[in-house]
């Protein structure tokens, strides 16, 4: 064997990567892209390969980061940790990424040593986490599952923050209700401990109106018209005995590996396999199975055999449906053609056929299972993809709410409130943040300022049309106002509600510009109970965020920023 030897190139090593101009520039481009996507009026990005591939229009971090191929190690650290966060919590990806960039940027402006910075950042993070989890927290609302308006507000906030879904007001309401219904269908009726949640399957139906979307209990399997006609010929009985195959029943041979298989003339392997399949069919028929579901392909002859024996055969179900099908029917997926143990059979209450748009579906109606199908429609492909991801996020967030039944106020209010609270504490009770580890109060004030302004400019990123951000001096909430030389006196008339929608404009609030230097004030903690009473009739609704996702986002952002700040050398293997 001929091998070529090449001299190994020396590795490249450079120190203090963050100080180079190029890294700063790239980081700021990335930050620019992410910031411009943030919030309900965020700008969209067209992703395509420049060679006629599919065009994807999005403003979601999950899609953006998946497609951005960054090369610099620092950016890679950033995108990877955000992607990790998104894969665990679905929501708050942009929040995490932008906050991380802001922190890095702000901290660099201070002249403190990296060690001090990291130490203080960690203290501030712990302080925030403790505050947001504490009873006195002024920006969180408990979630009661009997209170659907709160849940609907949460789902609606998620839908509203993704403008590329191209939903109108009515459509947002429609989809919010569907998502909530789909989620509630996944909760088992008998609440034994531990609760095992079911699954919502999103079934695509592109090209139809969004308002044609619907939720059905059970599983929808798309079938061709021809297949459906054959199924309809079979006598109906209920309940049905079900068998579920994960192996292919197409009659091909398992891969013999390398080398040749020699077969003598007169032996037909295909027929031999088919005979085996028909034998399997005989066993199914004698076991009185009435429905055969196969992930892959069933040989037409076996299908014909089953149909003539009044057994419904549905193939090409796909791997995505296997788990839900197993859940719905209680059947164990069978992976081989050997004999089947009776324990692997399952059962299903009933089935029916359904037609949505131009697609035909076989609808499995379970006895009592926690699987639902969300038939999702949107007009264009790119908007459908965005909507699907958004629905998945919303469903995931609702699951997180079960574990930690709290929501945070959205619309920038949590960030500004938190910043005001930290500022206040740093000046009034530095000891509550600073632990006994050698950092001075002045150092704390510097880093706290960097931390708070990172949070505030994150909130400010919600504005994309040149408006100004105000903060009130009572609650520390976020208010937006049109830019321009308007006199300061009549702010009460100009403002209507704060970002999250909890407070409306009143005289005694007193506002100041977000980025102006204002005196630290005591933001009111302990949200009054009546503020989270959302009635369906009320003209406004609240903008809410998931506590769990946001806390993790905060943590990931600070820790990633610390990690990046701590990088002293980058060693690149050039060969």
């Amino acid at each position: 064997m001929l091998s070529r030897l090449e001299a190994k190139k020396p590795s490249l090593c450079y120190s203090e990567p963050l100080t180079t101009e190029k890294v700063r520039a790239t980081l700021s481009v990335l930050k620019g892209i992410l910031t411009s996507c943030y919030g309900p009026s965020g700008r969209l990005k067209q992703l395509h390969n420049g060679m006629g591939g599919a065009v994807c229009t999005t403003s979601q971090s999950a899609v953006l980061l998946r497609n951005l191929s960054v090369t610099h190690p620092i950016l890679k650290i950033l995108t990877t940790s955000v992607q990790n966060h998104v894969s665990c919590f679905s929501d708050c990806g942009l929040f995490t990424a932008i906050l991380c960039c802001n922190l890095i940027e702000n901290v660099q402006k201070t002249d403190l040593t990296v060690t001090t910075t990291i130490k203080l950042n960690t203290h501030l993070l712990n302080f925030c986490t403790n505050y947001l989890r504490s009873e006195v927290c002024g920006c969180r609302i408990p979630v009661d599952f009997s209170n659907t308006p709160i849940l609907l507000c949460l789902v609606r906030s998620i839908l509203t923050s993704k403008p590329a879904c191209m939903l109108t007001r009515k459509e947002i309401d429609h989809i919010s209700v569907l998502i909530l219904r789909a989620f509630l269908l996944t909760i088992p009726e008998n609440t034994e401990d531990p609760i095992i949640l079911g699954k919502s399957i999103i079934v695509p139906l592109k090209g139809q109106r969004v308002t044609d979307s619907t939720v059905l209990p059970g599983v929808l399997i798309e079938v061709s018209e021809v297949q459906l006609m054959k199924i309809l010929l079979v006598r109906k009985s209920s309940p049905l005995k079900v068998v579920l195959f994960s192996t292919s029943l197409s009659g091909d041979f398992s891969d013999p590996g390398e080398g040749n298989v020699v077969v003598s003339d007169g032996v037909f392997l295909e027929n031999a396999v088919l005979d085996q399949l028909i034998n399997l069919g005989r066993q199914l028929v004698s076991d009185r199975v009435e429905l055969v579901l196969c992930q892959k392909v069933i040989h037409p002859s076996l299908k014909q055999f089953l149909t003539t024996h009044q057994v419904i055969a549905i193939d090409r179900v796909g791997v995505m449906l296997m788990e839900p099908l197993s859940k719905v029917t209680g059947a164990q997926p069978i992976g081989s053609l050997g004999s089947i143990s009776p324990g692997s059979y399952g059962s299903v209450k009933d089935w029916c056929s359904a037609k949505f748009g131009c697609k035909h579906f076989f609808h499995l109606i379970p006895n009592e299972a926690t699987v639902s199908s969300l038939l999702l429609c949107n007009r264009s492909d790119t908007a459908w993809d965005e909507l699907k991801l958004t629905c998945q996020t919303a469903l995931h967030v609702l699951q997180l709410i079960i574990k930690e039944p709290w929501v945070l106020l959205g619309g920038g209010c949590t960030e500004t409130h938190l910043a005001a609270y930290i500022r206040h504490k740093t000046y009034e009770e530095p000891g509550s943040i600073l632990q006994d580890d050698g950092c001075t109060q002045a150092e704390l004030q510097l880093i706290a300022e960097a931390f708070c302004s990172a949070l505030e400019s994150l909130a400010g990123s919600l504005e994309h049309d040149g408006g100004e951000i105000l903060i009130d001096m009572k609650y520390g909430h976020f208010w937006s106002i049109q830019a321009g030389p308007s006199s300061v006196v009549n702010w009460t008339d100009l403002l209507s509600r704060c970002g999250c929608g909890v407070y409306s404009s009143q005289e005694e609030l007193g506002w100041s510009f977000l980025r102006s230097t204002c005196h630290p004030f005591v933001p009111q903690t302990c949200l009054p109970h009546e503020s989270w009473e959302v009635s369906p009739q009320s003209a406004h609704s609240l903008t809410l965020d998931c506590l769990t996702a946001k806390l993790s986002g905060l943590q990931v952002a600070v820790e990633t920023a610390n990690l990046i700040l701590d990088l002293a050398y980058v060693i690149e293997d050039k060969s």
Binding site: Q46, E225, V263
Partner: protein
């Protein structure tokens, strides 16, 4: 470095500009009089004749991201509804210019998005008042002349011209039928009703006497051609104001008014109304619907089950190079087979034959989908037995044996067919036809009791269908197309397939003709399915235009949150400054409709310039807004408006001018898709090119790109 990012709107929005310039290409396709285009490929000197938006976009190479989104939107509209693509394209263009105008005037993007989106919603709700219910279309069917199964209806085709005379004859027919006593329910009273003020209490009294239904029906016919609503100015003012503050009630009221004003219960009238100038294609579609209806009636004995027009059982057979007189509609399935089969068909004629339906290919090497053939299996010969026949020969013999065993003379195959087998079968008087549409196979399966199989070896007695008859469509050798193929008709007693034969002496027009046929067919299909149509001839667009103008002039009421869109839930300054920008955005959106109407009018050739057309619209727009209720104005002036838009030459015969209809959902969806596309592009601020694409970006274009 494998990613580039380009900021799209530094000063002017590139994407919007691209959209409006793409849309310009489809300008001439708007309206009933369409000009065709030649598209020439400079490299291989090929050219195609296109006269529809879908075909145009298919032939253009749009590599830019915006172009691709546009193409995607048009394809999606076409796949779902098969109509409305031109409207979509034009409005996408008109509205991108409108949005650019808004940007130029400094309106924040979020406000443009929110206001436009909700304004279009409001328009969609407003035009409900111009809906015409389509009911009991098939109640009149009995009185129409029965078409015997073999009789085919030929029509002369003049595809690019309207036929007002033909249309009015339909109208006369309808008048005549109205006078026939057996349709009395529609004729009880002919007394004119002066105003809704008089009408409504009247109806209430009558309702108690169980005759309100007939009264209403009589009103429908009475007001069939000319609207007799003479609203007082005063009445309308109040009506209007009331309506705008309480949209729901307003809707209800006006909806009710419409139902009592217009209705469409005659297929011929519906067909003429939906033909949009293409009477020849529509005539064929109308006959197809009639045939399918009669078929359904015959099969069910009585028509107990309401008849549904099943478009998946309608097929076309194109005969390029043959005179148009051959165009017709026939029950059964017509397919083209090679002329060499002529003798075989002659023999098979006049006898019921047995059929086998194959889902896949009919070749030796065919395996069903999902079957992976192993490549490394070798067969060794045990003895030195000499193989005389190839494996294909063996297979063909085996197939033939099966066919003989089950006495099958016709094999319809969805996929390809082995030529060798076809020939072998022909010698034994069996016809094998490949590439048959899946719906056709399904229809034959239903009609003959045959079961589709993947392999011929699966065939057993239960899979074989009975009672198919094969015949020449015309006398043998009368009709031979360019590829030496002859049309053959397949039929069974219970088959519900209808084939429209389309012939055109100009081969280049064949595709256009087929497209137009399908457009007409789908219009009828949607109208029957939805049981409603819009009053056409741009009445809906005109109403949208006037509605937006009125909205723009109205001050935004405090607390009126319906038009805030998603901004309703935000406390952003955008919500509070909405009132300042709203009129501007609404006017820009209205301008899109204005442009649509004037181009449409200009394209119909009744106006020599777009300016003249624009004056006509302006005149009526002022009247409509002045009248207080544009929808009543449109209903009242409908015939004048429609004639202005469609054909001014017959304006002296207003009474006889046939009504024009439009499909409802496809139209509204086309608007929505157009606006969605524009707003999607508007909100996009940068283009991110992934993969290795940027390698091709040459250095002078690098300006404006950022790399990560």
């Amino acid at each position: 470095m494998v990613m580039a990012c380009r900021v799209m709107n530094k000063r002017r929005h590139m994407g919007l500009q691209q959209l409006s310039s793409f849309a310009e290409t489809g300008r001439t396709f708007l309206g009933p009089v369409k000009s065709s285009k030649f598209i020439t490929d400079e490299e291989c000197h090929e050219s195609v004749l296109v006269s529809s938006t879908v075909r145009l976009l298919e032939s253009l190479e749009m590599t830019s991201a915006t172009g691709q989104l546009l193409n995607e939107a048009v394809q999606a509209q076409n796949d779902t509804y098969r109509t409305g693509a031109t409207t979509l394209l034009f409005l996408a263009g008109a509205w991108s210019s409108a949005v650019e105008e808004c940007l130029h005037l400094g309106v924040p993007i979020a406000i443009i998005v929110s206001v436009m989106s909700e304004a279009l919603n409001s328009c969609s709700e407003e035009v409900v008042s111009l809906q015409v219910p389509v009911h009991n279309i098939f109640d009149h069917m009995g009185s129409t002349k029965a078409i015997s199964e073999l009789e085919t209806v030929s029509v002369s085709l003049c595809p690019f011209l309207q036929d007002p005379s033909g249309a009015s004859s339909v109208q006369e027919e309808h008048d005549h039928r109205d006078g026939v006593p057996q349709l009395t329910t529609y004729n009880l009273s002919r007394r004119p009703v002066k105003s809704p003020k008089f009408f409504q209490p009247d109806a209430k009294i009558e309702a108690g006497e169980n005759t309100s239904q007939t009264l209403k029906n009589s009103l429908h016919t009475d007001t069939f051609r000319k609207s007799i609503f003479i609203h007082s100015r005063h009445f309308n003012r109040t009506d209007n104001n009331q309506g705008i503050h309480k949209p729901d009630r307003f809707q209800e009221q006006r909806g009710a008014t419409t139902f009592q004003t217009y209705r469409c219960d005659d297929l011929a009238e519906l067909a003429v109304g939906l033909s949009h100038g293409d009477h020849s294609s529509m005539k064929l579609v109308e006959e197809a619907v009639r045939l399918q209806y009669q078929n359904a009636c015959m099969q069910q004995g009585n028509c107990g089950v309401p008849f549904v027009f099943d478009i998946s059982r309608l097929f076309t057979c194109t005969l390029p190079g043959l005179p148009e007189t051959f165009s017709c509609v026939c029950p059964g399935y017509i397919m083209l087979v090679s002329i060499s089969c002529a003798a075989l068909i002659k023999e098979l004629q006049n006898q019921p034959i047995r059929v086998v339906l194959i889902e896949g290919d009919l070749t030796e090497s065919y395996r069903h989908l999902g079957f992976n053939k192993s490549t490394n299996i070798k067969t060794v010969l045990d003895s030195v037995k000499l193989q005389e026949d190839s494996s294909e020969e063996l297979w063909a013999n085996h197939v033939l044996q099966l066919l003989i065993q089950f006495n099958v003379n016709l094999i319809l195959v969805k996929g390809n067919v082995s030529e060798h087998l076809t020939e072998k079968c022909m010698h034994s008087k069996r016809l094998v036809v490949g590439s048959v549409n899946g719906h056709v196979i399904q229809a034959f399966a239903e009609a003959t009791g045959a079961v589709q199989v993947a392999y011929i070896t699966q065939v057993n007695e239960d899979c074989v269908g009975n009672g198919i008859s094969v015949a020449f469509w015309r006398k043998p050798l009368d009709v031979v197309d360019r590829n030496n193929r002859i049309p053959v008709l397949l039929k069974t007693e219970r088959i519900n397939l209808i084939t429209a034969v389309l012939a055109s002496p100009v081969s280049a027009q064949m595709q256009t003709k087929e497209d137009r046929f399908w457009t007409c067919a789908y219009r009828i299909y949607h109208a029957l399915k939805e049981e409603k149509v819009f009053l056409g001839g741009s009445a809906v667009e005109f109403l949208c235009l006037s509605h937006l103008q009125i909205l723009a002039e109205q001050p935004l009421q405090k607390g009126d949150r319906a038009c805030l869109g998603w901004l309703r839930d935000t406390s952003s300054w955008l919500a509070s400054s909405l009132a300042i920008y709203r009129p501007t955005v609404l006017k820009c959106l209205a301008n899109g409709w204005y442009k649509y109407l004037s181009v449409l009018l200009y394209n119909t050739a009744s106006y020599s310039s777009e300016l003249e057309a624009s004056t006509f619209i302006q005149h009526h727009l002022q009247n409509a807004i002045g009248s207080g209720s544009p929808s009543s104005y449109i209903l009242k002036e409908y015939s004048k408006l429609a004639s202005g838009i469609f054909n001014s030459s017959i304006s002296n015969k207003l009474e006889q001018f046939p009504r024009v209809y439009d499909v409802v959902t496809p139209k509204i969806e086309a608007w929505r898709r157009a606006l969605d596309l524009v707003l999607l592009v508007l909100q996009t601020d940068s283009e991110i090119i992934t993969g290795l694409g940027h390698v091709q970006i040459n250095s002078q274009k690098l300006e404006g790109f950022l790399f990560l």
